[in-house]
């Protein structure tokens, strides 16, 4: 039910590695982190969702904010390693059309 956020530089890219759940309680901290990085011109951010086993529309909202900020200041971000059930929400809402999403992994039954 919590979200653990780990972030580090990898060459030119900033990686934000998440594990846990993205919901109304955990999203604000994630939003701060993500927008913080994206507010730097030219920044490249990878958000690694491999260990995120739950997300709802609050998470979608965070990534839409990210998109708008990235558009404004000319930075970019990519979502990587999404679990099936998390990817589905981007799919159902049609947001996979505008988001940069890379390689979905299979949802693991827990």
């Amino acid at each position: 039910m919590n979200l653990h956020i780990e972030d580090y530089k990898q060459n030119q890219t900033t990686v934000i590695k998440l594990s846990g759940e993205i919901d109304a309680y955990t999203a604000p901290e994630l939003k701060d982190k993500l927008l913080g990085y994206l507010n730097e011109e030219g920044a490249e951010v990878h958000v690694d969702l491999e260990k995120v086993n739950y997300m709802d529309s609050t998470g979608l909202g965070v990534f839409i904010s990210g998109l708008k900020t990235a558009n404004e200041v000319n930075s970019s971000f990519k979502l990587i390693n999404l679990q099936e059930n998390v990817y589905r929400l981007f799919n159902i809402t049609g947001l996979n059309d505008v988001m940069n999403i890379e390689n979905t992994v299979r949802g693991d039954i827990k």
Binding site: S57, K68, G94, D97, V98
Partner: protein
């Protein structure tokens, strides 16, 4: 409309801290009924959306009201009711906005919210919203034929 064979009720403060707590509860209820892993995920998202709405929209900043959640367990379906006693809203007006992302919309115009009710609708089999006094969202998810058959753990009426 047969009678529910069990009813579970929960009252929570309308704070985002409790959305995750409720998710654990609904996982448990749905697991006992024999829902599949995928359906349990759907239920978790839909119910979280409804409660998040109550947290975000029903009450004013410092006035933390309550959210009541009712689970009616039927043989073939789970009905979840999420009710708050806060502000109502203009459903007709909101309905016009409900839908997936419109690809012709420039990113700058995108709203950062607005997918909650859409997801509830997409993930549940039946949704009714009543917003005369506060907001009541009533959501139904049916057990798939094979789910009922597959799982021995579901709750029995007779016990």
């Amino acid at each position: 409309m047969t009678k529910p064979f069990d009813f579970v009720e929960m009252k929570l403060p309308a704070k985002s801290e409790y959305v995750g707590v409720l998710r654990l509860t609904i996982s448990g209820v749905a697991n006992r009924m024999g829902f599949s892993y995928e359906d349990i995920e759907d239920l978790k998202v839909a119910v979280s959306e409804a409660i998040t709405n109550a947290v975000k929209h029903a009450y004013y900043e410092d006035d933390h009201g309550e959210v009541t959640i009712g689970f009616a367990l039927y043989h073939d379906r789970l009905e979840v009711m999420v009710a708050d006693y806060g502000d109502s809203f203009d459903l007709e007006k909101v309905k016009e906005d409900i839908g997936p992302y419109d690809r012709d919309m420039p990113i700058d115009n995108m709203k950062e919210g607005g997918f909650g009710l859409f997801l509830i609708d997409a993930l549940m089999d039946k949704v009714e919203i009543n917003n005369n006094h506060g907001v009541i969202v009533l959501m139904t998810k049916y057990l798939q034929e094979n789910e009922v058959g597959q799982n021995d753990d579901q709750i029995s009426t007779t016990q």
